[in-house]
């Protein structure tokens, strides 16, 4: 069984999507946790959903990172509870210091809402073990601030430690400037922490988790999490 909690901030708008996707894939009910609460119920997975928490005031994710609930999310994440941050959730993970770097305004200054190709760079993390390295998948992005930035030393460390989990690429899997939708350094679309249990990514796996939605390439993020939890329990 996979007990998941989705944190709901004022302005979150993909919270129900990921709930439907998690429940559809795993069959287990998902808890919705309000940002003003003091603690997250004991669970196997915490999700920070996409959206526009606090209207993106100051910087995307900056206010949410200091929400009352985040104190417990950070404590639980540091104690080993896996955390998935999608889009705005990735921004919150960076702003809260659980992941390095920052998501800046897209180089084009435009809000980008379309499907992109992504290459799986690490198939050993909590959230990617049902994919295989170098596999090319298609997921939607929908953001104005997805331009990943970190200093060169941080980027090198992420690469060395296998923490770049997803990169923007073309359909053939080539990582090119033309395939980079937002100017992200080294085409980075998703990174994880040292343990592989905290993943932040700009694309939305929950928006393509079953064929009725036009594709199911995002399904394995959830299947990977379920498998990881079942393996840990075995």
């Amino acid at each position: 069984m996979l007990r998941a909690s989705v944190i709901v901030f004022p302005g979150s708008n993909c919270d129900r999507d990921i709930k439907v996707a998690l429940e559809g894939v795993t069959g287990f009910p998902v808890a919705m946790v309000w940002h003003g609460d003091q603690s997250v119920p004991a669970c196997d997975l915490i999700v920070l959903p996409g959206g526009f928490s606090y209207g993106d005031y100051l910087r995307c994710g900056a206010m949410a990172a200091h929400s009352p609930i985040m104190r417990d999310v950070i404590a639980k994440a540091k104690a080993g509870t896996p955390v998935l941050g999608i889009c705005n959730g990735f921004q919150v993970l960076c702003e809260s210091g659980l992941l390095p770097g920052v998501l800046m305004r897209n180089a084009s200054l435009k809000f980008i809402c379309r499907d992109v190709w992504l290459r799986i760079e690490n198939d050993t993390t909590f959230f990617t073990k049902c994919y295989r390295t170098d596999q090319v998948i298609r997921l939607p992005v929908a953001h104005a601030e997805g331009n990943y930035f970190a200093d060169a030393a941080t980027l090198d460390r992420l690469e060395e430690e296998g923490r770049v989990v997803l990169r923007y690429c073309d359909e053939a899997g080539e990582v090119t400037d033309a395939a980079n939708p937002n100017g992200a350094q080294r085409n980075i679309a998703g990174i994880c922490d040292e343990t592989g249990r905290i993943l932040g990514l700009m694309p939305h796996p929950e928006r393509l988790f079953e064929l009725a939605l036009g594709g199911a390439d995002g399904r394995r993020v959830i299947e990977s999490a379920l498998l990881s939890v079942l393996e840990a329990a075995a």
């Binding site: 100051l58 910087r59 900056a62 200091h66 702003e95 390095p100 770097g101 920052v102 800046m104 305004r105 897209n106 180089a107 084009s108 200054l109 930035f149 970190a150 200093d151 100017g183």
Partner: protein
């Protein structure tokens, strides 16, 4: 006491908004603009406090929330309102 806080992008961090402003200035026919970098200005009114205490408070608010020091620098001045 009031803190006037300026938050600017670090040197070397690309500023596409600054570039867009530069293009708009050029489109307006305003010549001689070599570069534009944009940032934020925040005013914070503080209660009665010493200057040393105010500096400590403003440093903390800049580091913890107002600036993201991965990409931004901050600078501030304290002004007495009386």
């Amino acid at each position: 006491m009031k803190a006037r806080i300026r938050i600017t992008l670090k040197t070397g961090v690309l500023d596409p908004q600054g570039k867009a402003i530069q293009h708009a200035l050029s489109a307006l026919g305003i010549a001689g603009v070599e570069d534009v970098r944009q940032g934020k200005y925040i005013e914070v009114k503080l209660g009665d406090t010493s200057e040393a205490k105010a500096r400590e408070t403003v440093e903390r608010m800049c580091k913890d929330l107002l600036a993201n020091t991965v990409i931004e620098n901050y600078a501030y001045e304290l002004v007495d309102q009386s």
